[in-house]
Subunit: 363 residues, 2 copies
């Protein structure tokens, strides 16, 4: 077994999930993640955790969803399992990213609605979602298998403690600032971050961060004004969006265009009122990610990118008791900042992808 699989398991169990002896752990294993599951089981045994392994197979889900009449309900067996779990580790990575392609979206929606309680219970655990590099994910990224493994482990096996420290500085700038401005090709956008709290997403439940890899600082902006161009392609609901342009006025999208699948963009914007407002501003800071691979878990963390989400804001960014932007959707769109500028209250924080505190920053 690739030694990095063991390192991945160790980071997941110790840094990300902070597993302790006696913890009840659910290990959710996708079809292509057997090797990582074995390595994680070894770490969990060593820590003295109680292990229950579930099989999260897209092909099993497809067969079940297609055969069902749609009157889904939440099984008490699954609900009590999750409610009694301390830690929920999700190992993603299947054998075919299109394995659910012919499941009617109505069936998926009905299932998601009927099992909302399950998702909430999962979110109440110390959950972490990670990805085992499979051939299927390599294919989606347009990369050779070995090349993709190198890419994925470079993103996952960071010095997380050091990155968390660097991101704490970024969080401080956002928390103490009031206006963020982004300027680049076809882009001049301002947002207020006044009164909002940024999250230092350092790939650990101790930082309220539940993805491995992570490496972004995000907040919940409001009063967004101006134009923004997203040059990084994104697959949303199976549709590939390209070259999305949005114009904000009074905090709302008033004009939009896309180089491909503009209809899908329109559907998203028309979901509800909140879908036209920005719910998240995220600043990618993971320098281990050096290219886009059509996988949001990696793309939005990349070191010289910024993403903006249409729709729902995260509670962690809002003052206690205050509701942020409400919406049924949360759709991330990414822009490449390798030729652009980000300012906070008029001061340049990042120029052409280089942060102020990094070598090579041009004052």
């Amino acid at each position: 077994m690739d030694e990095r699989v063991h390192e991945h398991a160790e980071v997941l169990v110790d840094w990300s999930a902070r597993v302790e002896a006696g913890d009840d752990v659910v290990l959710s294993v996708a079809e292509g993640t057997h090797d990582l599951a074995v390595a994680v089981a070894e770490e969990l045994g060593d820590r003295g955790a109680n292990l229950l392994t579930t099989y999260d197979s897209d092909e099993v889900a497809r067969a079940y969803l297609r055969a069902h009449d749609g009157g889904f309900s939440t099984g008490e067996h699954e609900l009590t399992m999750v409610e009694n779990a301390d830690v929920y580790l999700r190992l993603g990575g299947g054998r075919n990213t299109s394995a659910l392609a012919d499941v009617p979206s109505t069936a998926r929606q009905k299932y998601a609605t009927a099992t909302a309680e399950l998702r909430e219970a999962r979110m109440a655990t110390d959950w972490v979602s990670t990805v085992h590099p499979t051939r299927s994910l390599a294919q989606q990224a347009g990369m050779a298998y070995e090349e993709y493994r190198n890419f994925a482990y470079s993103a996952i096996l960071r010095d997380w403690e050091a990155l968390a420290g660097e991101m704490a500085g970024m969080k401080e700038l956002l928390d103490s600032g009031s206006e963020v401005r982004i300027e680049k090709e076809r882009t001049d956008l301002t947002m207020s971050v006044e009164g909002r709290t940024a999250v230092n997403s350092a790939a650990s439940v101790s930082y309220d961060s539940h993805n491995l890899p992570s490496g972004e600082v995000f907040t919940a902006p409001h009063a967004t004004e101006g134009e923004v161009f997203f040059d990084v392609p994104m697959t949303i609901n199976g549709k590939r969006l390209r070259d999305v342009s949005l114009t904000f006025e009074g905090g709302e999208v008033v004009d939009f265009s896309a180089g491909a699948n503009e209809g899908e963009l329109e559907t998203i914007l028309d979901t509800d009122d909140g879908a036209r407002r920005s719910g998240e501003l995220g600043i990618g800071m993971n320098r281990g990610i050096d290219r886009f691979t059509d996988n949001i878990l990696f793309d939005e963390k990349m070191g010289d990118t910024i993403h903006l989400a249409l729709g729902r804001a995260y509670d962690a960014c809002l003052p206690d008791g205050e509701a942020g932007n409400a919406s049924a959707v949360h759709v991330d769109l990414i822009t490449d900042m390798s030729e652009g500028v980000m300012e906070i209250d008029g001061e340049v924080v990042q120029r052409n992808g280089v942060f102020r505190w990094e070598e090579g920053f041009e004052r």
Copy 2:
């Protein structure tokens, strides 16, 4: 997918487990059983059951057990999952029957002891254990993959209703009889079945039968007397026992020998007092099984065999409130009856592998 995989799934869900709409089902999936899991998920979706799939990987278990210090405990998450399950379907069939070979037996025993509550909770569900024919099982049986699949499906895809009817007749003979006698090479054995109730093991929870395939009628004999020779090899605790001979006096084994691994046989007999008494007499009646494959699930059901177990008796065979033979072990030993005679109260029920009601029976 082999059409027989779908037929297997249908028999499992309908005939064996009697799954109904709204049932909370745990589907336990071994490493090599993905295809059967997909087919079963389809049946469960169609029946409107609530599906939770667990991953029963020997390699995951090995890593966990070897790394753990041995202070195991039962996870509340797993216990509540099983306690809330209506049905527990176990799909056996790994990729290496020796996958747990280097797990110290003390670790296995400690884990089994610490999680006894889990096993009891599973036994309280409508549980069924079946096997998906894998290459690994074909190898263990010394058969080609396609040959083994044909063998397995011939055993699994029976007319269970008809077989249940035939076995009901056998049960009647045992229930109304008082003494069973077996005679063959190196064998002349009598047992009392007075006051005992036979189980018609027809591969369905409706018959208190939890294996698919099944196809045996068994009871709990006592006062066993005489000699018996087991010519079918059996792998017990990883040791291959051959040509076992036992001599019973006053219901207890007073002499024994084995053609191979006699020491293992001695260890079994010395476990406790009950290990020297017979806990089960089973009569194989599944004519779909035409050879021995070193897998007890199949071997003991074969149509012209009888097996005797040393150790624990099943409660279902005993009068209410009466304790049967108590023991920590239950070790099945099989004898080929294709050249032999079984009598009940002096009347021949089977001669040379042919039952009295079958064509070719010699009076």
